[in-house]
């Protein structure tokens, strides 16, 4: 470890870092703008200037940029020397020349890095007497607001958007002081990760549009540590609330999962919390089909009466917490508890779980995915199913560049140099999918194959790696040879597949490739994507023998179910509507717990309003098997209660002995961990409610939370005592200590002088490193522990094996980032970007059917009528349908169906002003 001297004090610092990072890690405040821990240095803003001295005799020194200066043993620096201080102040003054003086109406104000740095350098008076440059703003879509006048030309936005996230439609334009950061013309930002601009830009140029229109300053937001519920990646988030409304979602740093970045589905997809479809009171269906509002006592008694009579079955949900599902499983009994997947998905998720449990390969976390030096993606369009992984893959292809840099002894933070060095050279990334994917631009090759073709390719690669002669001669084997060669050269190869293309054979093939790599002595990684926030946890809870919806339907028809309890699940998304209708109609009592009104709640006899993720606590298991806890950020209104509260209360009323000792949320977690071996680790996901941070709780409100004696003064001037939180270590107050607690309990980041999210480094072991209190979540899958079960011993469930017939098309799911997830698609910003479901056909197939883009086709025998998109990259013989969209429950993945031009189809009018998401074919310009 080199020792450096800063202002006469000697410090030991970590080798290989730059001076700026080292200063921040030491707790010294050095202003900066363009450096970002995830993106390295380019030395553009000149803000991090320090004086470096040649040796002890040198008393003049020279100004160097901290972010561009490696720490070397014996180096002497000064941060506080006049020369450097005046330089830094002058830099801020010059950055502020054109600043529009609009902090009061800026959504960044109060968490603005520019404000912080201005105060830090002590700049106060404007000496410039010239006129300020101004710019016109652009419309950048429904999610992001643009106010170009606030720009300080630090280049973080374009470096993030283009270099890090692979976007192409945001750039630095024009020259000298005309420089402009925007699109070549107005329009929706195309990157699926555009929302991170809000946090990356150190000023108010890019801000969260929904927040701008219902604004609350950061200091007024009540926040809690949370987990994104929009997909299975399990990114950590900080949602903020004021006046009972969710205002925004920010990233919560997790060194092993999302790091600094979220995807737009997660960042902007939580608006459903404020939906006017939210249920507020229990509803009892009357004879005339209308619902009568009940109070919770009444509702609970009715639920209890129904359950007391016996013959209860439960349907859980992969979007509900482990705890709520566990209670429902207790209530209904193990044999009567269906996990709530669609039948096809249940088999796939179970298979994905078993493959990961039994594979010798490591199940990587997202950070580890970034380290892969060769990647094979089989069948999964990760950008649309597990978006954050796609961003990680975009980093993984840069490992080639880092290798080259290491050869020249460049440090990894020397961003510009490394990018110049590598240019377009990337580590291998092979994608086999039914059609194009948004990652194609960084892929070595993307192959369009039908699901069987993908599986066969995987098998061929596995065979190639284990040295056996390729089992499948034919068109794909040439490709397989290339892939084998690339994977064999790699030291950290990664195989990705998932449930997204609906094929068990593909999952199996992916696992075999990973296993073959392991057997040949490489530390291979295997990442299998599952669809929802708790899909994997649900598979762990229910086990492979749990009945599926089809089985419950049969039992219902046989009269074996009187009362059906459905937990946070819209069954019409899970199976064909006729089957679900039958299931619900055959049960005398259908009790549905859910947060928003949907088709299933409308078919219930009793509806209980369930709190959503922002109002309740729960544990979710992400696709890498990480159990993570989310916490309520505000109290649910009216009669909304967390599902676990409803279920526990009901079972207590029934005097069930198995819940006798359960009182708190933590008790359920513990009971579940004790009961279900696969979930034994979940108690370690976060500290229990008795945790105290140096003797006090952790405050949800920042120390400057305002308006407490006026917020509810219109209701009553008698201020009630702050509500005690009896379930978590967090408090609904500003009292307590937000410092150094476990990472799972970080409700907001702030530090004196650092009001923006850049204050995060004060919570990290070193700038950019893991949180001081430890990384949130606990891994339930022990990477590579099982060591070498033969994957082929695990039998994949049979998939619809109807052979290819010329007049039949195979339905393949094509998930979409905006729309395929149920709840996020209801959030106002995203809803604007959701294009109604359609079906993609290859030009040859479209020609055979005589249809063009915009026409309609009838699928099967009246199963659905969908709009056609002709996609030149679509595999002929496959019909890709928008998975997870209204009515797509009727379409069975991989089924072979007839297609026919729809006779009375009305073309949709062309949408204007929304050029994003018009078909996956062009979803990534």
């Amino acid at each position: 470890m080199p020792t450096i001297t800063i202002d006469g004090v000697a410090y030991e610092v970590e080798a290989g870092r730059n001076l700026l990072e080292s200063c921040l890690s030491l707790g010294l405040d050095l202003p900066y703008f363009c450096w970002h821990p995830a993106m390295g240095s380019i030395g553009a803003c000149r803000q991090c200037a320090v004086v470096q001295y040649q040796n002890a005799e040198d008393n003049r020194g020279r100004i160097v940029m901290g972010c561009m200066t490696p720490v070397t043993d014996g180096a002497i620096f000064s941060l506080s020397g006049d020369k450097a201080r005046h330089f830094r102040e002058a830099i801020v003054e010059s950055l502020m020349l054109n600043h529009p003086h609009d902090c009061p109406v800026c959504a960044e104000g109060g968490e603005c890095h520019l404000q912080d740095m201005t105060v830090m350098v002590g700049h106060r008076d404007r000496h410039y007497r010239g006129r300020k440059n101004t710019h016109r703003n652009q419309y950048l879509g429904p999610l992001i607001n643009h106010e170009m006048n606030r720009c300080i030309t630090c280049y973080r936005c374009t470096r993030y958007y283009r270099d890090y996230a692979g976007g192409t439609d945001l750039a630095a334009m024009a020259a000298h002081d005309h420089i402009y950061f925007g699109r070549h013309q107005e329009g929706v930002l195309q990157s699926e990760f555009a929302g991170n601009l809000v946090e990356v830009c150190p000023t108010g140029v890019f801000t969260d549009k929904s927040l701008v229109h219902d604004y609350t300053r950061k200091w007024d937001l009540q926040s809690a540590p949370s987990v994104c519920t929009a997909c299975a990646v399990g990114c950590n988030t900080i949602p903020g609330e004021r006046y009972g409304r969710l205002k925004r979602v920010h990233n919560r740093f997790n060194a092993e999962v999302n790091g600094y970045f979220l995807c737009d589905r997660g960042r902007f997809g939580a608006g459903f919390v404020n939906s006017d479809r939210a249920l507020e009171f229990p509803g009892l269906r009357e004879a005339d089909g209308r619902y009568r509002a009940l109070d919770h006592h009444d509702a609970l008694h009715r639920m209890m009466d129904s359950c007391a009579a016996g013959k209860v079955a439960g349907i859980g949900s992969p979007r509900a917490s482990v705890e709520a599902n566990y209670l429902l499983r207790l209530l209904a009994g193990t044999d009567n508890f269906a996990p709530g997947f669609s039948d096809a998905e249940q088999d796939l998720v179970n298979l994905a779980l078993r493959l990961q449990q039994q594979s010798a390969a490591v199940t990587p976390d997202i950070r580890t995915i970034e380290s892969a030096d060769a990647v094979l993606v089989l069948g999964e369009d990760v950008t649309n199913t597990a978006p954050r992984i796609a961003l990680a893959l975009r980093q993984s292809v840069r490992n080639k560049a880092y290798e080259m840099a290491a050869g020249l002894r460049l440090e990894t933070w020397q961003d510009a140099a490394i990018r110049n060095l590598a240019q377009q050279q990337r580590s291998p990334l092979f994608i086999a999918a039914v059609a194009d994917t948004p990652l194609d631009d960084v892929a070595t090759r993307r192959l369009s194959l039908a699901p069987e073709g993908i599986a066969a390719l995987g098998q061929a690669v596995a065979a190639g790696i284990s040295g056996a002669a390729s089992a499948t001669p034919g068109s794909t084997s040439g490709e397989a040879v290339d892939i084998v060669a690339a994977l064999a050269r790699a030291s950290r190869p990664l195989v990705i597949a998932g449930t997204g293309c609906g094929s068990a054979a593909v999952l199996q093939a992916a696992a075999e490739v990973a296993n073959a790599l392991c057997s040949s002595g490489r530390q291979a990684m295997l990442c299998l994507c599952v669809p929802e926030a708790n899909s994997l946890g649900q598979a762990m809870l229910a086990g492979p023998k749990a009945p599926n919806l089809g089985a419950l339907e049969e039992r219902a028809r046989a009269g074996e179910i009187d009362t059906l309890v459905v937990l946070e699940n819209d069954l019409y998304r899970r199976g064909n509507s006729a089957g679900i209708d039958a299931l619900l109609a055959e049960c005398r009592n259908v009790i549905v717990l859910d947060g928003l009104d949907n088709a299933t709640t409308s078919a219930a006899t009793l509806v209980l309003p369930a709190a959503n993720f922002a109002e309740s606590e729960g544990t979710l298991v992400s696709l890498e098997g990480r159990a993570q806890r989310y916490y309520p950020l505000f109290q649910p209104r009216e009669e909304r209660r967390p599902s676990w509260v409803w279920l526990l209360a009901c079972m207590k009323e029934l005097e069930r002995p198995d819940v006798h000792s359960l009182h708190h949320f933590d008790d359920i977690t513990r009971a579940c961990a004790a009961d279900i071996p696969a979930l034994a680790g979940i108690t370690a996901a976060a500290p229990d409610l008795h945790y105290l941070n140096l003797g006090v709780k952790i405050p949800r409100q920042p120390s400057r939370y305002s308006g407490r004696t006026a917020m509810r003064a219109n209701i009553s001037v008698h201020e009630p005592k702050q509500r005690e939180d009896e379930e978590t270590p967090l408090a609904f107050t500003m009292e307590g200590l937000n410092r150094s607690q476990p990472g799972a309990l970080l409700p907001w980041v702030w530090s004196p002088g650092w009001n923006s999210n850049q204050s995060l480094h004060k919570f990290q072991t070193h700038a950019g490193g893991p949180l001081k209190g430890g990384t949130a979540g606990v891994r339930l899958l022990h990477p590579g522990a099982a060591g070498g079960h033969r994957i082929s011993d695990i039998t994949a469930p049979a998939t619809a094996a109807a052979s290819a017939a010329p007049d039949l098309w195979q339905l393949v799911p094509r998930p979409r980032i905006f729309g395929s997830d149920e709840l996020s698609a209801l959030s106002p910003g995203l809803a604007e970007l959701v294009v109604p479901g359609f079906i993609e056909l290859s030009p040859a197939d479209a020609g055979r059917l005589g249809v063009a883009t915009g026409d309609g086709v009838d699928v099967g025998d009246g199963i659905a009528t969908l709009e056609v998109r002709v996609n030149a990259t679509m595999t002929t013989g496959c019909a890709g349908y928008s998975a997870g969209f209204a009515g797509s429950g009727n379409l069975a993945p991989l089924a072979r169906v007839t297609l026919q031009r729809a006779a009375n189809w009305q073309r949709r009018p062309q949408l204007i002003g929304s050029d994003r998401g018009n078909g996956s074919g062009s979803s990534h310009v």
């Binding site: 609009d102 300053r217 007024d220 305002s706 004696t709 917020m711």
Partner: protein, 175 residues
């Protein structure tokens, strides 16, 4: 000894002199005292010189308030202005310290010399925006935030605020 005696005598003399000055105490309420415009009493929200609501709902007054008795919610008007959708001051908590006025970047919130705020029912001390907003500019007649700041609103485009040059044409190569 002599020194302290003189001092005491001088003090007594000064006090005696005061017996002949005019009393400060007035017969309130029959007689109203003069209160300077800077007196810190009942708070109002004012308009800018153009007659538009001055408050931009920036929340600075709320955060400056030591007793946290100001609560508001921002909204955006059709014309692009930020404004408070509601603005509430709980005067039963307010200590008339004037911190909000000092924090306000738009001169919207001002304290006035009216201190007569007595109610039998505390809830009548809770003032909403309609009770706070006055039609005039209050003590500060000229300041108009939107003329200074760069945010474009209807009637004031980019480049039309103080010290602003017309918007740059990004497509032009001219310096």
């Amino acid at each position: 000894m002599l020194k302290s005696l003189t001092s005491q005598l001088r003090t007594i003399w000064t006090i005696l002199q005061h017996s002949f000055t005019k009393a400060e105490t007035v017969q309130y309420p029959e007689q109203m005292p003069y209160l300077a415009p800077r007196y810190r009493g009942r708070i109002v929200l004012t308009n800018d010189p153009d007659g538009q609501e001055r408050c931009v709902a920036c929340n600075l007054c709320a955060v400056a308030c030591p007793v946290d008795c100001i609560a508001l919610q921002q909204g955006v008007k059709e014309d692009g202005r930020w404004y408070p959708e509601f603005f509430r001051i709980n005067f039963s908590r307010c200590i008339m310290c004037g911190m909000c006025e000092e924090a306000c970047p738009t001169n919207a919130i001002q304290l006035t010399p009216d201190f007569e705020m007595c109610e039998y029912d505390r809830s009548n001390m809770v003032y909403e925006k309609e009770h706070l907003q006055i039609a005039g500019t209050g003590k500060y007649h000229d300041y108009n935030f939107y003329r200074v700041s760069g945010l474009a609103i209807a009637g004031k485009d980019k480049g039309q605020a103080q010290h602003e040059a017309p918007p740059i044409d990004v497509k032009s190569l001219l310096p």
